[in-house]
Symmetry: D2
Subunit: 476 residues, 4 copies
């Protein structure tokens, strides 16, 4: 957690003083919101001018007023009007000539401005900061994956030693899952829409003055680089933002999973990885020897706080008739969610960059169960070469090994009953079965293949619509 | 709610006896799950045979065994093994010759079968039943939209009369939102993946026997019509199913919104629409005159029950290392969610088909505030024609009308101060301002346009990647 | 929404600049948290001194240091230590003599301080601000209930006119539900606990020095007015805080229900109540005539945002072994929840104080269905006086009335078949049946009784363990 | 998971065929619900008879009819009426003489019956099955706690070895938390209420016939052993059921925490505990040597599924005016939640009874970090005896030990600079510091004390209103 430079001790919410991302203030702070709203107002004036309904000089007045509003003025005005957009409009009007005044906010309803500004700033924040940050984490994971692709590790299911993998293979899972989430974020961001269809969405006001109110809407949004909603009420349909938040939360959960994995791999008894800490950092106030995974814990904790927010988003899909206002205050908290998510992405990038991997420990842990690992390949090959009940046979031998303390390999080799099957094994198969570390399948190759695929798709212009095996991502 | 024919009084969960969809039993019941799992086992045998590792006759034995397992046998076996897949495998083995036995489930781990079977049955249920049902609802809404496109209705924001729309325009919002959800369902269903990568995902077992374990996986899944996950652990990456459930829940929320709108439009004081009821149906046990929106209420209620389930799905994105089992019992409830959602889609289809629309009542409600409706167009045009503070002017006049009981139109026309602006109005503008029902923008046209667009995209082979205005749905 | 005096435009979270309650900063801001933590450190020194293990002068040094730490110093130190409690301890140590230094934080672990400080400040905030605020709202509702106890209103079920009540009776529901929530808050606050049992809860450190470490813990907490947890790990058991948040969220939901009721009663077609607005306030930027229930909408919206937070609290009940840290960041958001809840309580208090009730409109709405209201009492009395199938009889007559446009009363009186039963009615019964407004049961009396009960329990020292009928609230 | 005897392969919901508790069918199945509803109808007749408004013979007819309704008949009737209570009433009427017919359901509204029956059956299920089951689990944990109170274990925070405890001490945390939840369940169950106040709660119908409708309600509910709500609408206030579900979910989360602890203690590298498995049970289909914590995983998984259901309960606190029906279908799922919770309680009881504790492994794990454990007591005592900066001193020495591979004890004893402080240690203190296993505080004593306290409160008639230290549980 990096403390904000402007410390705010008197605050209730820890977001701004503990989990803020300064680069996002230009998109997601309340002040930034105001600037985005003003940009929408300016775009309206611009298109009025393009269409010859407002002379260029007046349009420029409005655009300039839009670029100069200060949050102080608007808040001051809002205290009177109790209405944020009306406050902005009043402030802008004061800055322009009488002739320009009528054209400020003309034909627009508050939520034309609010929803469009939100779509814009969410999109900009996602495209200019959050996706680049997600990619930066992906790069670190890609590098780790390649570096550790051959590092032997025991695969664990149910917390139990199962079959061999490599640590790079384990990391490649995250490279892949995270890659799909980056595409999902991009997809959701691309589909955000704005509107300029008025108070109930039927272009009631704008069609008073304009022959082609939909064209006008399209042009204003084009100035801002957005598409309009196909149809809207007072507000845009809630689904595009809902899809975006789904992308965020489902991405956040991938991070939570990664943190849990690392936390457990850092357990005293396992100790395969470790967050590196600064020399000055205090691990615990009374247990100075401890090396706690505080970064992983912190991200997991923030996920617990923000993941349930998805429920709010679904509640906000319901708005009565041409809208009620019960999604207003709740939506004001969406920026916070984006910020804390991005904070976590950055934090994990830093931690992942400096992740300490203890390969010797990985091997030592691997050796603990190396003998029993052969159970599976043995059963497979015995089956393959004709043993009628190989699974049960191996299960019993394993139990016997467990009870007698003898090695499974030894027990098997001493058993004449299976000799005829063992003799059919190829030498390569024999090696894979009886040398546990050889029984890691194609872990290393797969890790590399995944790394190459995502490297290409995300960083080298590869076709994101092709799957790793060259097939289309989507049927149609 | 249609009661299941096989009534189950002793049950705890109401899903099966109250909210079931019989057509889905072939996909989503426990028995269907078993059949899908057996199909995966059969596909493995088929590809072994294709590759010449298993002779055709033995492969056919296994495929036949797969097609003949009965739930009774498997459950009986599961009581002993306490393991569902091992039970299936044991039962299948009993049905084949000793030579075929080793090839049953060879190289596969339980979740190769389970996750692949789930992807298959979710996809089939979605494509063969749920999406067709969603489209059937869309058709009804399309028809209603077109039928009611000219029906005057007052638009409502904050529960307050705002500006005119048409009822068809209000419905077109749902046509559009629902259309996007159908595409989202299709998208999510298309991206479901299976796996055959073994116990920890590294193809440990299959690479013992096969040179090209990824190719083998691809071929087995191709038999079933699925793509493999790019990489997997013991389980497929959780995101594709998570995205599917997001599609379901975000669709369900559209229904919840529709139900709320209709419930409120059916209020005694509003009474613009009504669920038609059977002659025999009892409205209330002691208030026989009541016409309750019980269908809309029922769907809303089921949404309240199932929407929070999205949290479970995000919790299930977290599975330790190569998987823990804490997503097993929870995922057994996914079919129920799909079933109840589909039940609600069907229920709303029936209700929407028979929705009673009271056009006279709509008009009567419209008239209640017709006078004040002119406030907005008036302010717009006064602004447009140069009034320096039109919004504030109209706001005051409206308050005056409200207090004096005189009509706003009357007050305005009596006010010499605005005469110079009024004189600049075109006759068309004058009509739109002073005849409230004319002030409905392009509500009817837009309703039709939306209906045409979705009709084309969903039912007439239109390009779903084009937006309504012809632009690409996605930037890239 | 009252804007904070210190406006913070650059913030992400709207809590501090839009929904803050200034009176709570002394309890729930980050600075207040620091002061509470320092108080716990001071209490430890005090009890060391009481027990003669630390001389009084040194203890006083520590207590003074505790009272003088500034957030600036501590944050500055935290940048180095990356550990908030160690930072506090370091800062305190700098302020005392070398002899006192060892006694600062002696025997304590960080979470002895953190959990105890949290219990203290949550309790103080609840008891000194939030419960008084809840009671203030209750007083307003009590007053309204009494004032409106005789105001005739139609009772509504399913959004349909049902049977008569009074508006005071409807309000009394909230008086009662809110009263139970105030007691629940008190109960949960009373049960908050602290701890001083060290790093894993076994008093490892304190039992090095003290013979009676549990007694020491009890004494330190007694200084602060708290009870210790019966047993703890590094942290207190999570359930007491979980119960408190349940009390908050379940109270918040009562407010959400109230807001929905009022929003709907304020609908244009119903218009029985209305939020009073300031003359200067702008209802809508383009529809100046509208009177929107923005306060009710705002509270409902904040509920949608914060209610799902209960999931986080349940997630935080799970902490591995003697604790993991994944509840740390998430718990930092609990103050925000308390603040926003209190903001809503205050906001509804202000709105309720000025709620405009339109009694004429209530009566007018009542009259709409007055005729059909008689269906129920008629059916009851017909049954009571021997009609064998009264419910069905009345249901049919009601349908007939609905179809023919004739009044139900008229149809009934014209029907010879029921004459024999009608003749058995007492004159009082006849009145109650045929004069709809008389058929309101004991609405007014009940409203008053509820008001009296809660007035007594909450404001006049009545026994909160007695139910309204004098029975015990709890069996045992 | 114990499979139900009546297997239901065609079902969607796994609750009935996988997670059912047969003993609860008499309370929580749909059939049981019907019986409870009929009991409420019978109680009404009984009180009419008590009051002399209905002769005894007719009352007996109704009571007998109530006891004889079958679900088959009622469901058949419901297909026609589409209304469950009206169906029940119709069926009952058919079973009585014409003179009794009018008294069936007289004065009652559907939800008088439904809400009262729900309160009854929830209370009975909780008191007769669920709390006894919870106590059975508590007994097992009590026994384990006492048995393992001296078993040395390393305490773990952040997954890192921290300070010594005993395994019994770790278990005592659960004994205590579970004890508080049993009391919370009892409390919530005791506060469930019924109603008989009619369609909008104002006793409109019953006050037609009865002078004292509240007294009538009280008497009917007294027959059933329930209290009435202080005031109600068509439905009882939602908070008592909400509080009950909070008790269930917060209890469930304690189980989830226990399962996580055990799962991790069962990890291959830790292996301190183990679920005992049957000889026949298959651990994994291809890894026969594995010992998976499937019971713990299963309970955790069900918690993930049902915990988010708390959101539904809060959504159901909101019902418009005198009620809308959007809480009806959702509430039909409450029995399922109770059943699955009870299933988990039972399952953990069985697992806990047979939990294998590997004391040697616990000690072996303890020894891993035994040397560094002395860091904390050392720092405490150095501080206590005057070292000015003991924490920093020990932190550095620990780091040195870590880097050089030498023991901390050795480094300390070799350091002349701290000799003067060490010499002040008492011999007892010296032992506790330098023999790590002695540094376990009062872990064993506390474990026993907690066991004794809860044994007394729950099983030996101790005063549940007294805390462990004899203070009052509640301030007032």
């Amino acid at each position: 957690m990096s403390m904000s430079t402007s410390m705010k001790f008197e605050e209730f919410s820890p977001t701004d003083y503990r989990y803020a991302v300064e680069e996002l203030r230009g998109y997601l702070s309340d002040e930034a919101f105001l600037r985005y709203k003003a940009r929408v107002e300016a775009a309206i004036a611009e298109v009025f001018s393009q269409r010859g309904l407002l002379n260029e000089a007046l349009a420029r007045e409005i655009q300039e007023a839009a670029s100069k509003v200060s949050p102080e003025e608007v808040y001051e005005e809002e205290k009177l009007t109790k209405h944020d957009i009306r406050a902005l409009v009043n402030v802008m009007k004061r800055k322009v000539s009488d002739d320009a005044k009528p054209f400020v906010h003309l034909c627009a309803t508050s939520y034309d401005i609010v929803d469009t500004a939100n779509a814009l700033r969410y999109r900009d924040a996602v495209e200019e900061v959050i996706i680049p940050d997600m990619k930066a984490l992906e790069r670190v994971w890609l590098k780790l994956t390649r570096r550790e692709k051959e590092t032997l590790q025991i695969g664990r299911t149910h917390g139990q030693h199962a079959e061999p993998i490599t640590f790079g293979f384990a990391l490649a899972q995250y490279v892949n899952r995270w890659g799909t989430r980056i595409l999902k974020m991009q997809e959701a961001s691309d589909r955000l829409v704005g509107k300029l269809s008025g108070a109930v969405g039927a272009y009631n006001a704008s069609s008073l003055i304009l022959d082609d109110p939909e064209g006008f809407e399209r042009d204003v949004l084009a100035v801002l680089g957005l598409q309009p909603a196909a149809i809207s009420t007072q507000i845009v349909p809630p689904e595009p933002v809902c899809d975006l938040i789904h992308a965020v939360i489902s991405s956040f959960s991938v991070l939570a999973n990664f943190c849990d994995d690392m936390r457990h791999l850092q357990r005293s008894e396992i100790a395969e990885v470790r967050e590196r800490v600064d020399a000055k950092q205090v691990g615990s106030s009374t247990m100075p020897h401890k090396r706690n995974p505080v970064g992983f814990e912190g991200v997991k904790s923030l996920w617990k706080r923000f993941m349930p927010q998805i429920v709010t988003v679904h509640l906000d899909q319901v708005s009565e008739h041409q809208r009620d206002l019960t999604n207003s205050a709740s939506q004001r908290y969406i920026p916070e969610l984006l910020v804390v998510f991005d904070h976590c992405v950055r934090r994990l990038t830093r931690i992942s960059e400096r992740l300490e991997v203890d390969r010797e420990r990985m091997r030592a842990n691997f050796e603990l169960a190396a003998d029993t690992i052969i159970a599976e390949p043995l059963y497979i090959l015995l089956s393959y070469y004709g043993h009628p009940d190989a699974h049960e046979y191996v299960r019993k031998k394993t139990a016997q090994a467990y009870e007698t303390g003898r090695s499974l390999k030894e027990l098997i080799e001493a058993d004449d009953a299976v000799r005829i099957y063992l003799d059919r094994f190829t030498s390569e198969q024999r090696k894979r079965v009886f040398e546990a570390e050889q029984y890691r399948g194609i872990a290393a190759e797969k890790a590399e293949k995944i790394a190459d695929y995502w490297d290409k798709v995300l960083f080298k212009g590869g076709d994101k619509n092709k799957n790793i095996n060259g097939s289309e991502r989507m049927k149609r």
